[in-house]
């Protein structure tokens, strides 16, 4: 006979009634919106907030907005929403800046080339990665430069002062990432190096650029770079900004790559050394392929940061997307109360699309690379 414990139940628990619902929207709402009194309260407050905030935003963006094809008089009416007609009218300016209209086909070819090269590069299953990367990182920038700048093969010369809009935003971010990537990898390797002088130099370089704001780097690049060059050399304004952005980004990339290098087990370094490989072969064949694979999300994130930061070049007088929008907002032909806001919303939307797509890509890559070997 079992002992009689006060806390041990002697009889069976009566069966519970079957739950009324096992699915459906009502159960979902009960679980996710109204599970407790506090939850219900939060839901109600949230709904009140949405009811307050969403209709005006909707009315501004769509409801009362003046669609492309509208006139400036409609935009000037009392209570008119966003003036999309203005965006439509100045669209080419926002994309190409002051680039000559008859030469628009040149940036267009560059855009198409960019899409044709970057999509297979970012698709893990696409073949010919090596050739693709070679084309994208080396051939594409050279071809694009001659195509946009002209002056060769009978193409008309277009100085960089006339470049602008989304085109320049893309150029700065792409050049920034392409040039800063090798520098960043070298800096990261230098920082992990056992040679004290090289390590110190790399640490100093990285920490200096990471400590100062990009805007001061751009100021410095646009003021000091001409001073540093031999007397009589003139440095293109866009090039100055590119140098500043590249140095700045390479320091951040170096820290990202360092994370990957540190995450690699010691055994990989030792295994590579025991094969008798020299330093560069060790890094190139064994360490970097694994380390870089780990930090692809981090690299994409610094690319997102760089893409957003390109808007700062407008402060040193380069006509990127933000600056064209800013300049167009004082356009008398389209003067209306919502002109400035519409421009900002458009620019914000363009930036948002790019950054959001990249962040989704980075998340997807993270999940793909997550092979489930976590402890």
């Amino acid at each position: 006979m079992a002992m009689d414990f006060g806390y041990v139940r002697k009889d069976f628990v009566p069966a519970k009634a079957a739950p009324g619902r096992t699915g459906g929207p009502i159960l979902w709402a009960q679980k996710n919106l109204f599970s407790t009194p506090a939850n219900t309260l939060i839901t109600v407050i949230g709904l009140l907030f949405l009811a307050w905030a969403v209709p005006p935003i909707y009315n501004f963006l769509l409801g009362h907005a003046v669609m492309p094809g509208g006139t400036v008089e409609e935009c000037r009416l009392e209570g008119a929403g966003a003036c999309w007609a203005y965006i439509h009218a100045r669209f080419n300016f926002f994309i190409y800046g002051f680039y000559p209209i008859e030469e628009y086909w040149r940036p267009n070819i560059v855009f198409v080339l960019l899409a044709a090269l970057i999509i297979p590069l970012l698709t893990p299953s696409a073949p010919f990665k090596r050739i693709n990367a070679l084309l994208f990182f080396i051939v594409f920038p050279i071809v694009s430069f001659y195509l946009l700048n002209g002056g060769v093969f009978g193409l008309r010369y277009v100085p960089t002062e006339q470049w602008g809009g989304l085109m320049v935003t893309l150029i700065i971010s792409l050049v920034g990432i392409i040039c800063s990537f090798p520098i960043g990898v070298l800096l990261a390797l230098g920082r992990q190096s056992k040679l004290p002088i090289i390590k110190t130099l790399c640490v100093m370089f990285i920490e200096l650029w990471r400590a100062v704001p990009l805007i001061s780097v751009l100021f410095m690049a646009s003021i000091m770079l001409p001073l540093f060059m031999p007397a009589g050399t003139s440095v293109d304004k866009l090039l100055r900004a590119l140098v500043g952005v590249t140095l700045f980004t390479s320091a951040y990339l170096a820290e990202v790559v360092r994370g990957g290098l540190q995450a690699l087990p010691r055994g990989q370094y030792e295994a590579a050394a025991s094969l008798g490989l020299g330093y560069w072969k060790r890094m190139y064949f064994v360490v970097l392929p694994q380390a870089l694979k780990h930090v692809i999300p981090g690299i994409v994130n610094s690319f997102i940061a760089l893409f957003k930061d390109t808007s700062l070049v407008s402060i040193v007088g380069i006509f990127d997307l933000l600056n064209t929008v800013q300049a167009a907002s004082s356009d008398i032909d389209w003067a209306s109360p919502t002109q400035a806001v519409t421009g900002y919303v458009f620019a914000a939307f363009v930036f948002w699309i790019f950054c959001f797509a990249m962040s989704r890509y980075s998340l997807w890559m993270e999940r793909r690379l997550d092979t489930g070997h976590k402890r």
């Binding site: 996710n32 919106l33 599970s35 009194p37 506090a38 939850n39 219900t40 309260l41 939060i42 839901t43 109600v44 407050i45 949230g46 709904l47 009140l48 907030f49 949405l50 009811a51 307050w52 040679l195 004290p196 002088i197 090289i198 130099l201 920490e207 200096l208 400590a211 100062v212 704001p213 805007i215 001061s216 100021f219 410095m220 003021i223 000091m224 001409p226 001073l227 540093f228 060059m229 031999p230 007397a231 997102i304 957003k308 808007s311 700062l312 407008s314 402060i315 933000l322 907002s329 109360p337 400035a340 806001v341 900002y344 620019a347 914000a348 930036f351 948002w352 950054c355 959001f356 962040s359």
Partner: protein, 511 residues
């Protein structure tokens, strides 16, 4: 067969070139040679360029008259001020924007981070939409939006918006009442600080006693009961006055005081939870009843009043379940005691010594506002933009930190019988903070660096005043850039020093 011993005897002779140590030295010498050569080249070029432009170097320009205007300065500023004062004014403006931005960004960021993890689907979605929208749009664009599209679109001075508490909003920024503390008020401020320290000391001492003996000391419990009664009285009084907005008879001080006394009386009976529930319900009702008509002007007021009443009742119901039935005893932390000490004693002193804290309300003169504290739109836009932008990143750090605490910790805390609040406070948050603080510090650093974007909207911060105006006027590019960068470098190094110290302090001690 004799085994050949490879390990003893002199090492085999190899070429010096294959010796890793020797190679390392050679490489480093090479790098040093290249770097020094490059720097030397730059210095030579710069010297040559400066000679061509007939420029001198040196920091003596700092002691010359600046002769330009700074729109917003914390130190007295006139056209006769010197360049080093301009440097200081810019630095202080940078720090001011950074500190205020950090304050708001932390509050918004933590709320959003927790909201995104909420089990409430709606709130989690709203927080997600905020974060995903804000952090994918460049900060500069947001600053332009706030400055040019919002603050510059405010009405002219004559048609300023009047917000509660005498705050005016117009094209020239936000005008708030300026506090004018008199001489006696200093003592009240001192008393506040002393009481704050005392309250912390009492709390620490009481908790230690409890950890040692299992209960709070009798003296604490007794004074907590008194404090509880006083705080209940004060809150009840406020609740009745607030209710007086709807039922005017309750607003008279005598009636409100009598009602509050009844509440205090009830709080010593087992019906205690009803007191807290009543106060909470009334306060929630009046606040929402005040806010809703402002938010929905097209909906009939009666419906809004009903919604406010429903919200008030729900809050009351929730509080009813949260507040314990038993009066303050030795097992609960006396929350009312520190509140009374920190708020009550300075307030009593305020009336006792007859201190006065007057407010200078901004008054519309013919062309502009006189008096009050005028916050320029540049400053407001910068603080707005920085807080809202950085908050999105802080929210992600907070979410990551809380998610990093394994679910087993939650279960372990639950199996110990901890309530939800205690579980968060004692188990989850301390472990999450270990993960949150390092990225949080770097977000603070980012915010400080990003405050330099104020230059783009004309806020007189360091980069604007020094790298902009001063550099343009003096042409001392190298000195100005070096000084500005040195400031940011110092801030950054101090931050990373703090981070290292913190990491060392909270690092897990592993077996």
């Amino acid at each position: 067969m004799a085994v050949h011993d490879n390990f003893s005897g002199p090492a085999p002779r190899t070429s010096l070139l294959n010796d890793p140590v020797f190679r390392g030295v050679i490489y480093q010498l090479l790098v040093v040679f290249l770097v020094v050569g490059f720097l030397g080249w730059i210095v030579l070029n710069t010297a040559q360029n400066l000679a061509i432009q007939n420029k001198t170097t040196g920091f003596d320009f700092l002691f010359r008259t600046a002769g330009f205007d700074i729109g917003f300065s914390l130190i007295p500023w006139s056209r006769a001020s010197l360049y080093w004062e301009a440097f200081l004014a810019g630095l202080l403006n940078t720090l001011l924007a950074a500190v205020i931005g950090i304050f708001f960004a932390t509050i918004i960021g933590f709320s959003l981070g927790i909201a995104r993890l909420s089990s409430n689907w709606l709130i989690a979605r709203v927080a997600t939409v905020y974060i995903e929208t804000i952090r994918n749009i460049p900060l500069l664009l947001q600053l332009f939006f706030w400055y040019f599209a919002v603050l510059k679109a405010m009405p002219a001075v004559r048609d300023s918006f009047l917000l509660p508490l005498g705050v005016y909003v117009n094209l020239r920024g936000i005008m708030v009442p300026k506090p004018l503390p008199d001489h006696e008020f200093t003592w009240v401020a001192v008393a506040f600080v002393v009481c704050l320290l005392a309250a912390i000391a009492i709390g620490v001492w009481a908790t230690r006693q409890r950890t040692r003996t299992g209960r709070y000391p009798a003296s604490i419990v007794a004074s907590a009961r008194i404090a509880n009664a006083v705080v209940t009285f004060a809150l009840g009084f406020i609740a009745f006055i607030a209710l007086g907005q709807v039922i005017p008879t309750l607003a008279t001080p005598m009636v409100a005081a009598a009602g509050a006394l009844v509440l205090v009386g009830i709080s010593f009976t087992p019906y205690r939870p009803f007191v807290g529930a009543f106060i909470a319900a009334v306060l929630a009702f009046t606040v929402t009843g005040f806010l809703l008509p402002g938010m929905f002007s097209s909906v009939p007021p009666a419906i809004l009043l009903l919604v406010a009443a429903a919200i008030g009742l729900t809050v009351g119901w929730i509080m009813l379940e949260r507040i314990g039935r038993t009066p303050v005893d030795a097992s609960k932390f006396p929350v009312a005691l520190p509140i009374l000490v920190v708020v009550g004693i300075p307030l009593a002193l305020y009336y006792l010594i007859g201190a006065e804290l007057a407010f200078e309300v901004p008054v519309l003169q013919r062309f502009n506002f006189q008096g009050g504290l005028q916050l320029p739109p540049e400053f407001v836009a910068l603080v707005f933009g920085l807080s809202i932008y950085t908050a999105a990143f802080i929210a992600e750090n907070v979410r990551g930190g809380i998610r990093a605490v394994s679910h087993g910790q939650t279960e372990a805390a639950q199996s110990l019988g901890l309530k939800d609040g205690d579980r968060l406070r004692l188990v989850i948050i301390p472990q999450a903070m270990r993960v949150i603080v390092p990225p949080l510090t770097s977000q603070y650093l980012n915010l400080t660096k990003n405050s330099s974007l104020g230059a783009a909207i004309g806020y007189a911060e360091l980069v604007n005043v020094f790298m902009g105006t001063t550099l343009n006027q003096t042409g001392k590019a190298i000195e100005v850039v070096a000084l500005t960068m040195a400031v940011y470098l110092t801030i950054s190094l101090l931050t990373s020093a703090f981070m290292n110290w913190y990491n060392g302090r909270v690092a897990l001690v592993e077996r």
